[in-house]
């Protein structure tokens, strides 16, 4: 039995601490992890709780992230509540096993402190790793500040382990900007948090010999398709459990979460769509711009997978122009968030002018001034009723302005 950790009503936590505390309260049985910046403090804090009796479990100090996720999958199949944390290259190394976790319907929880992918080597935050894992069949929950990291990590167990879901869940937070900076976080006390998360119930456990199970069988053209279709259905249906869990959490804490978050959208003429800590900066930029008469709102998918297509479409149905911000090197295309959001609003009656910003790669600071400039360009598109710039622009880049997909000049 683990010792109780008495928490203040409001703690001053960085994002990593917010993760670790939620993992401790979820009474994880097995953590299998390999350190990588900036996710490292998450597992270090947890090791500290273990060493001091604040959690009863085992920490498997694997020799790589691939092994960490492998251990999570096997331990989960054996009936343990499991977790790990990673970033960037470590996430990339895990990729093979991410698909195994979702394919075997095992509710592993993975905290990702988002970081750029090399080369060139970079330890700072962008969303390259988040994008890399998008098709791995995991539920993806996004956070924009430390409080949300805590809340989403607690909820991730409840969502993933729900009998109608049985899927692994990632909780994303921006590397450094969220993981290593502190804000006020209002946590639940241990007993309340534990009650909310609930006991882990093993399903089809390898350690139940009354009913031996085979995990990881082979299926070829005769059955593979049916398995993958069922898996897709499971993640598509998971939105119901996610929203129910958000609602239950709201009743407990008063903190309301939605599959798609909208800020100042009631009367917005233009919108910024983004992910991560940029949301908080965008909200501040919007407040300032509204004093200048620019009615900008912000839309952000809280649930990135399953992608809330219909709710994105609904959130953006009344605006004249939208700027969609991607914090990942697009590698020869428009940004992924741009493509997905654009697809979502295609069936709307309104046809807003849409453009794409690539920004903040490798942790490049994105300031309020940068976001105000972006909003002003979006406003110019709204006023003109058409694109006044190429579709894709790089924001905050040194040197001459870089842009692609110039629709005017290609006419």
């Amino acid at each position: 039995m683990s010792k109780e950790y008495v928490l203040k009503e409001v703690e001053f936590w960085d994002g990593a601490m917010a993760s670790s505390q939620a993992l401790r309260q979820a009474e994880v049985d097995i953590m299998a992890a390999y350190p990588i910046t900036p996710s490292t403090p998450i597992i270090q804090n947890y090791a500290d709780y273990l060493s001091n009796g604040y959690v009863d479990g085992e920490y498997i100090r694997t020799e790589s992230e691939h092994a960490a996720m492998s251990a999570c999958v096997a331990a989960s199949a054996a009936g343990a509540r499991v977790t790990t944390a990673t970033s960037s290259q470590g996430f990339a190394l895990m990729i093979e096993v991410l698909y195994q976790a979702s394919g075997m319907r095992l509710p592993v929880v993975l905290n990702v402190a988002n970081r750029a992918l090399a080369a060139p080597l970079n330890v700072n935050g962008d969303h390259s790793d988040l994008y890399l894992g998008r098709d791995a069949g995991w539920i993806n929950l996004c956070t924009f500040n430390q409080q949300e990291v805590y809340d989403m990590t607690l909820m991730s167990f409840k969502i993933g382990e729900h009998k109608n879901v049985r899927l692994p869940v990632m909780v994303h937070q921006d590397g450094f900007i969220c993981s290593h900076t502190a804000q006020n976080v209002a946590p639940l006390q241990d007993d309340v948090a534990r009650k909310f998360v609930g006991d882990f119930e093993a399903v089809d456990s390898l350690l139940d010999f009354a009913r031996p199970v085979t995990y990881g069988a082979q299926t070829e053209e005769d059955w593979h398709f049916e398995h993958k279709a069922k898996q897709h259905k499971a993640i598509m249906d998971s939105i119901n459990v996610i929203e129910d869990t958000f609602e239950e959490f709201e009743k407990l804490t008063g903190r309301k979460y939605n599959a798609v978050e909208s800020y100042m959208m009631e009367d917005a003429e233009i919108a910024i769509v983004a992910l991560g800590t940029t949301i908080e900066s965008s909200i501040e930029a919007a407040r300032q711009l509204r004093e200048e008469g620019i009615k900008v709102g912000i839309v952000a998918p809280r649930v990135f997978r399953p992608f809330p297509y219909d709710k994105i479409a609904d959130a953006l149905k009344n605006v004249k122009a939208i700027g969609i911000l991607d914090r990942s090197s697009p590698g020869g295309a428009l940004g992924m968030l741009f493509n997905e959001v654009t697809a979502a609003i295609y069936t709307n009656d309104t046809k807003p002018v849409i453009n794409n910003y690539i920004y903040g790669l490798g942790g490049r600071d994105t300031t309020i001034a940068d976001l105000k400039q972006i909003a002003k360009e979006i406003q110019a598109n709204a006023d003109a009723g058409k694109l006044t710039t190429p579709v894709q622009q790089f924001s905050g880049l040194r040197g001459p302005k870089l842009s692609f997909f110039d629709m005017e000049s290609s006419k």
Partner: protein, 316 residues
């Protein structure tokens, strides 16, 4: 709870945990070895199987040949999986959440030489170093048989494989076999052994020992591959006899650093007799390649002397 198995007939009446309904080649030594492995104990078994022949031939949905808990994740991570399952067992037992029917469970990892010597080498090293309580059995057929006979780091010198084909400019594989037993012993694993299916009593004794001993134990099982070694499917045990009698695969164990040679052939067979029965070495008998066999014989002789010295030294 190891069983006392006096004769092979006892296996035929054992409760099968690897059912006959699998897709391994006729004459494949894998099924002989694994069947005896899973039936030599009354312990509950959880098996983590690496990708490879054993895996693809025993769990093709909607069927399974396994009448015990079994998981296959990837090619490289069977040892990690077994280690994690052993840790889960420990935690659940401590927290009072272990199923009553799961008491006396042993965790087993199975992988071919591809999974063990190569792609899963780091994972095995990590899992053994961490000291999880599990047994790893390598089905060593010295080739990537499942993908069609490519060389591995267990492939012996001179073997013609699909990635080291013998030809006018090549003698086949150019490197000598990796000493996995030595590497595992160097990890400080409490028990490391080599077995072969023709010496089944020795094999059972070692499997039982490996399962009983606490901590990470490793058994390298010589597994003759009728398809890639190219010998008739009824000669699996004949080839295995030649392998152990020529000392190509000496049978020995290392328990807490102490060496024991378990089989001393009365008549040591020349290595060329072991090679001559296998198609993969056919080209070595062509004029000009004599030195390969001669050097091989010297290596085997030297290794045998070394083993005996190690036995003497560690027992004194």
């Amino acid at each position: 709870m190891s069983k006392i198995i006096k004769n092979l007939k006892q296996f035929s009446t054992a409760n099968e945990r690897l059912e006959g309904a699998h897709l391994l080649c006729p004459g494949c030594a894998h099924s002989i070895i694994v069947r005896e492995l899973v039936n030599c104990t009354d312990h509950n078994l959880v098996i983590a199987n690496a990708t490879g022949c054993m895996e693809v031939c025993t769990a093709v949905y909607p069927y399974t040949a396994w009448d015990t808990s079994w998981i296959h994740i990837g090619f490289e991570n069977a040892a990690t999986s077994a280690g994690a399952i052993a840790e889960t067992y420990k935690v659940l037992e401590r927290k009072g959440r272990l199923n009553k029917n799961a008491e006396n469970t042993k965790v087993l990892a199975i992988g071919g030489d591809g999974a063990t010597y190569d792609i899963g080498f780091q994972f095995l090293s990590g899992a053994v170093e961490r000291g999880h309580d599990f047994t790893y059995v390598c089905l060593d057929n010295e080739v990537y048989a499942n993908t069609g006979g490519q060389r591995s780091s267990s492939t012996p010198v001179g073997a013609s494989t699909t990635t080291t084909p013998a030809g006018s400019q090549s003698i086949g594989n150019k490197t000598t076999k990796k000493d996995m037993i030595g590497i595992m012993a160097a990890h400080g694993a409490p028990y490391v052994a080599q077995v072969a299916p023709n010496k089944w009593k020795d094999m059972i004794m070692k499997f039982q020992k490996a399962l009983e001993i606490n901590g990470p134990t490793f058994v390298n099982a010589m597994s003759a591959c009728t398809t890639e070694w190219r010998f008739p499917s009824h000669q699996t045990i004949t080839v295995s006899d030649l392998a152990t009698d020529s000392l190509a695969f000496p049978l020995y164990e290392i328990e807490n650093g102490v060496y024991t040679i378990n089989y001393r052939p009365k008549n040591i067979v020349p290595i060329k007799d072991y090679l001559a029965i296998q198609g993969r070495f056919k080209h070595l008998f062509k004029p000009g390649n004599e030195h390969i066999i001669e050097e091989w014989q010297k290596r085997v002789d030297k290794k045998w002397v070394q083993l005996q010295k190690m036995e003497e030294m560690t027992n004194s």
